[in-house]
Amino acid sequence: MPDTSKEAVPAGKWAPAVALAWLIPGGGHFLLKRPGRGALLGVSVALMFLLGLMMRGAMFQWQTGDLLTTVIYCGGFIGDMMSGIFFILARAFGYNQVDVAGHVHDYGTKFLVAAGLLNILAMVDAYEIATGKKD
């Protein structure tokens, strides 16, 4: 039987840290006074995204159709978007690499998505710290 005695942590306590963690990778940890971890997370996500751009990875566009198309394109778009400020800046400066064949471009595309996925993990970590589940 689930434990219902635990009180829900108010969103005001964790939402700013999680939102900042999305916008600036590692920022949530800085807000929660974990600068060392925040710096490592921020640098890792930033370098991964930067390498993705330098390898001319393609950014996914929101696209639906059959199940596989929807999962790949919508999932890829969400992954790209989770890099926060890097995604916003890349879009603002007009980065629009078309998907071309070649292993370097392929790696670049995966690096761009993986940077966002790593940032999701950092956001979950910031949430756990903010709610007191983790030190």
Partner: protein
């Protein structure tokens, strides 16, 4: 922005490095545990890279 061309090995090595760092930070609670786990993840990535590389080479005939 300069264009970068990496080999499969270099790209997967960088991917393994950054992923291991993040996994180490978010999964463990103390710094020594984090360092150990990040090193463990990195080692697993390397083993997988070489293992799958050889598997593909041998499977290709």
């Amino acid at each position: 922005m300069p264009k970068m061309t990496l080999s499969h090995f270099e790209a997967s090595l960088l991917f393994a490095l950054f992923t291991s760092i993040v996994l180490g930070i978010i999964t463990k609670r103390t710094d020594p545990e984090r360092i150990r786990y990040a090193a463990y993840c990195f080692a697993c990535f390397i083993v997988a890279i070489f293992g799958l590389g050889w598997l593909m080479y041998l499977g290709h005939g």
